[in-house]
């Protein structure tokens, strides 16, 4: 990567540490607000930063915290798009800071916390609280119907089925689909793509013995699948590229059937 910085004016290169700079100065406009501090006023504050090759927003935010603003709050764990902690509004759209290269954007970048979720401070939101509430409402687990015998070998599963389940299991609960959903923005109890995708996942699982009628009880209303207006925000912002349109359409058909069968 160091070759990328060759030929960059020395003043700029000196601004970055071991790597050469790209010659661009970024201006990160970051939402600042601490709800725990009564004197804190919500505002955007701009932080200039010399861009380095391969810089992600995650790297940029860490540099700002190290060099300019030690009190800046934002979340991250894995740096690799696996933990789902660093979801934020990047120029108005939900995305993961660690998966967003600054080189792909104009130098002026606006960062804000994900809406819908409770604000902890600055860019940090409590997605966990929301996800837990959704999980409890939608019962996103395999209900234990028989006492498990931990000494016997688990029933085998067809590789194709395991693959299908895994495809949906890739969801990292980053909250981007909720923040990108017009319905979730208006209706706080709406399960959103993350919740409905989970139901789709458990529906596939042979260990989950619930019927479509049971799932209908959980998502067969306007807070569930019938609340979805197919705005496709979820599909277009999902950092894991989950097949959300496909799953939502499929689930809608199954739940319509389950709902109509209920009355005969």
């Amino acid at each position: 990567m160091s070759e990328d910085g060759a030929g960059v004016p020395s003043a700029v290169a000196a601004g970055s540490q071991d790597q050469g700079g790209t010659g661009r100065t970024l201006y990160l406009e970051i939402f600042r607000y601490n709800p725990a501090d009564p004197d804190s006023e919500p505002q955007f504050r701009t932080y200039p930063l010399e861009e380095t090759p391969g810089m992600t927003l995650f790297i940029a935010l860490n540099l700002i915290r190290e060099e300019q603003e030690p009190g800046l709050q934002f979340d991250f764990v894995c740096r690799a798009g696996i933990c789902g902690s660093c979801g934020m509004l990047i120029n108005g759209r939900p995305g993961l800071a660690c998966r967003t290269l600054t080189a792909s954007m104009e130098p002026r970048i606006r960062l804000a916390p994900l809406p819908v979720f409770e604000l902890i401070g600055d860019l940090s939101v409590n997605t966990g609280k929301w996800m837990r509430g959704m999980s409890e409402r939608l019962q996103t687990w395999v209900p234990a119907t028989v006492d498990a015998d931990i000494d016997s070998i688990e029933a085998p599963m067809e590789p194709e089925l395991a693959e299908q389940i895994y495809e949906l299991e890739r969801c990292i609960e980053c909250g981007c689909c909720i923040a990108g959903c017009g319905t979730a923005i208006m209706h706080e109890r709406f399960a959103g793509a993350v919740g409905l995708n989970k139901v789709a996942r458990f529906r596939l699982d042979p260990r989950d013995t619930r019927s479509d009628g049971n799932y209908y009880e959980l998502i067969g209303d306007d807070d569930g699948i019938f609340g979805c207006m197919s705005l496709m925000g979820c599909q277009d912002v999902c950092p894991k590229s989950l097949p959300l349109q496909t799953q939502l359409a499929y689930l809608r058909r199954k739940m319509l059937r389950a709902g109509l069968i209920a009355t005969g």
Partner: protein
């Protein structure tokens, strides 16, 4: 919860989709038939008589048109009542969605806003047109329609044209995304094509509608000095 109350959300969702589908298809058929004036005055005359049952009963019955209009109005009322469930219904929801829409700059989210706005317009504008057709079904013909367009109705039809053709095409596009598991990998390619098709259809029908409206307007202008003039058909109807 009783069984039928439990099934209500599923039924309402399906009914909204079905009523929307029927209305959208009706509107396209309507546009194509109305545009028969672009072929000739005689073509439009025959289309109008066809819907009065002339070719079926050998005699024109304008009340048949009133029946169809009443059914369309009922279907529209059903669709409107169901669609109202989706409208933002508080200042908080309205504000939250508008902020979200401007922030996201996301095509399909913005389209939904246009669907709400055009749907709202149609609540008021469509019944104006429908009541006219219901109460005066015999006033549909090349000269009678042209006179109506020219003298009073062209602003209504102009706004209706844009509202209907945008609302219907967006609705059908959304219907596909709602119910159809798009095949292909990635399905996004198909969605992109559907979106292009949607715009293509809107542009086609709006263009056709503008040409048709202009044709009626000019015809109405030509006959404006002869109020109440009826088209002298090549075929004899109800002599």
């Amino acid at each position: 919860m009783t069984l039928s109350a439990r099934a209500l959300p599923a039924r309402l969702d399906a009914l909204q989709s079905v009523s929307g589908l029927l209305l959208a298809l009706f509107m396209w058929a309507h546009m194509l038939l109305v545009s028969s004036i672009l072929i000739s005055e005689e073509a439009m005359y025959r289309v109008a008589r066809m819907f009065e049952g002339y070719y079926l009963f050998g005699r024109a019955h304008p009340w048949l048109v009133s029946v169809v209009v009443a059914l369309v109005l009922l279907l529209m009322m059903l669709h409107a009542a169901l669609a109202l469930r989706k409208f933002p219904h508080s200042a908080g929801q309205y504000g939250a969605f508008r902020v979200h829409q401007r922030r996201m700059r996301h095509g399909d989210t913005t389209l939904w806003w246009w669907q709400v706005a055009t749907g709202f317009l149609l609540f008021f504008l469509a019944p104006m047109h429908l009541f006219g057709m219901f109460s005066q079904p015999d006033q549909i013909g090349p000269y009678a329609s042209a006179a109506r367009v020219y003298h009073t109705h062209w602003p209504l039809y102009l706004v209706l044209l844009f509202a209907v053709e945008l609302h219907g095409a967006i609705g059908l596009y959304r219907l596909a995304l709602k119910w159809v598991v798009l095949p292909g990998r990635p399905p996004q390619q198909l969605r992109h094509r559907l979106n292009l098709l949607k715009w293509g259809l809107s542009v086609f029908f709006i263009t056709l509608g503008l040409c048709t409206l202009l044709a009626y307007f000019r015809l109405g202008e030509q006959i404006s000095d002869r109020p109440g003039l009826r088209y002298p058909p090549a075929i004899e109807v109800n002599p």
